[in-house]
Symmetry: C2
Subunit: 276 residues, 2 copies
């Protein structure tokens, strides 16, 4: 039985000092199983794996915080590899002071970048030697096409940022921290490289999305559903109902193990929604 | 009279510790008037005016450098306006320690971001009051669409980053500093907002570009010319000749005063090249 249709308000996310009405969204009318979401550590590993350029913060000679742009590659354990020149201010900074942080933002964002994900990886940037230097250099040259031009220059050195602390921001009001252990243990989301194109494809299949939102998302009165995000655990939807408009989440039957398995997981949702 | 055609090498840009041959490019065969280029201060003002999102470096409670993402607007004097929440780590950092820097990268870059422009504006982030707060808030709200949602929240404060030092990097081997006075005195390039589309348009007019490179760029033997950049002072070209391939510069008759005047300045170059 459906409860009376009322415009309810969700709790304020975190503690923004703002009127509650800003966050008014329709509640689910049917109980849906809680869907797993990526942890902050998984979000961080996914963002870090998804880019090759980021902002580096170092400490200048005068003790000032210094923001600059760098290319980076990732080691399998989640530590970023940098290749910096002493001709660059950040390169001279790291020679004096190894503390650094790297901010990686979601690439190819349409619209407001602050509504999208970014992560700060903070730690100590160390020059590595021997096998570790070799491994780091190979990861860097494999990831950064232009590295062939400069990675061998005498003024460039390979650094590994040993991550000690992680802060993820997923958009307005979505943020969380991760410690180094959970960051290292987490996996980058394997479906992330295909998420954007899959979202676009799905949004051309309006009836499927509406069925998924109605049958599996807890909004049987949905009039329009749009997909706003996909990860290995499920879909994020934006649903319109006579009770208002807001976000919904629909989980996959099980976590998707690879990008190639994403279509089958979505097909399973569609089948389940249509046969409900 | 043309000098003998030889493959010459230009001096190494800056002091990269690299073999000279990396930078081999064809020299001009005909003397061309030196073309004014944007100063580091102008490059910095242009980059700062051309974006609304940047990386902020602050100092954390533990004294570590902290990189994060912010939206910003510009005051007419070149100081960036920030609107930060104490829910964000950078907001808490600025409450304790006002030293900060902002790294703005060229937006909408195709290809290698490190081959394109970015600037670090370093200084002190101050909470402003009275008329100054009003002016800064208006600039921010006018520039950042989402600000209407959060700029009035109680946990957000308006800061102005009083710029004290500027470091511009234009790409590989192009970099320079600017002091606060020259930064403040410089103008953002008025043609920058139209540069990318004009470059694309020009590159569909191959014969015009070839005539410009041959007659005004000092490469009479040019076989192909491609435009790689436009600013108020002229065009950057990539020219192919039997002597090799490299960059060329062709200045406008006079600095272009507005984006609307850009087409006329290019038409003047074409006319001059075709009547040479």
């Amino acid at each position: 039985m459906l409860p009376a249709m009322t415009l309810e308000t969700t709790p304020k996310p975190y503690e923004h000092d703002a009127p509650n009405e800003v966050f008014a969204t329709p509640q689910t009318l049917v109980e849906v199983p809680a869907s797993r979401e990526r942890t902050a550590a998984e979000e961080a590993r996914t963002l870090a794996a998804g880019s090759a350029h980021a902002a580096l913060a170092t400490i200048s000679e005068e003790g000032d915080p210094w923001a600059s742009m760098v290319a980076y590659a990732m080691l399998p354990n989640g530590d970023p590899v940098l290749c910096v020149s002493t001709l660059a201010e950040h390169g001279r900074n790291l020679l004096r002071e190894s503390r650094a942080s790297l901010m990686v933002a979601q690439p190819e964002v349409a619209g407001d970048p602050l509504a999208n994900g970014r992560v700060t990886l903070a730690g100590v940037a160390e020059r590595v030697e021997g096998d570790a230097e070799q491994q780091a250099r190979e990861a860097y040259v494999a990831k950064i096409p232009a590295a062939g031009m400069y990675a061998g220059f005498g003024d460039f050195s390979i650094y590994v940022l040993k991550v000690q602390r992680v802060r993820w921001v997923g958009g307005y009001g979505r943020m969380d921290s991760a410690d180094a252990d959970s960051y290292r243990a987490a996996e980058p989301d394997p479906v992330a490289p295909r998420a954007a194109t899959t979202v676009r494809d799905l949004n051309e299949r309006a009836e499927e999305l509406q069925a998924i939102a109605a049958q599996l998302g807890g909004h049987p009165d949905v009039t329009t559903a749009r997909c706003t995000g996909i990860d290995r655990y499920g879909l994020f939807l934006d649903v319109e109902t006579p009770r208002g408009r807001g976000p919904a989440r629909v989980g996959f039957a099980e976590p998707v193990a690879s990008a190639d398995a994403l279509s089958a997981a979505i097909a399973e949702l569609t089948l389940r929604a249509q046969s409900s």
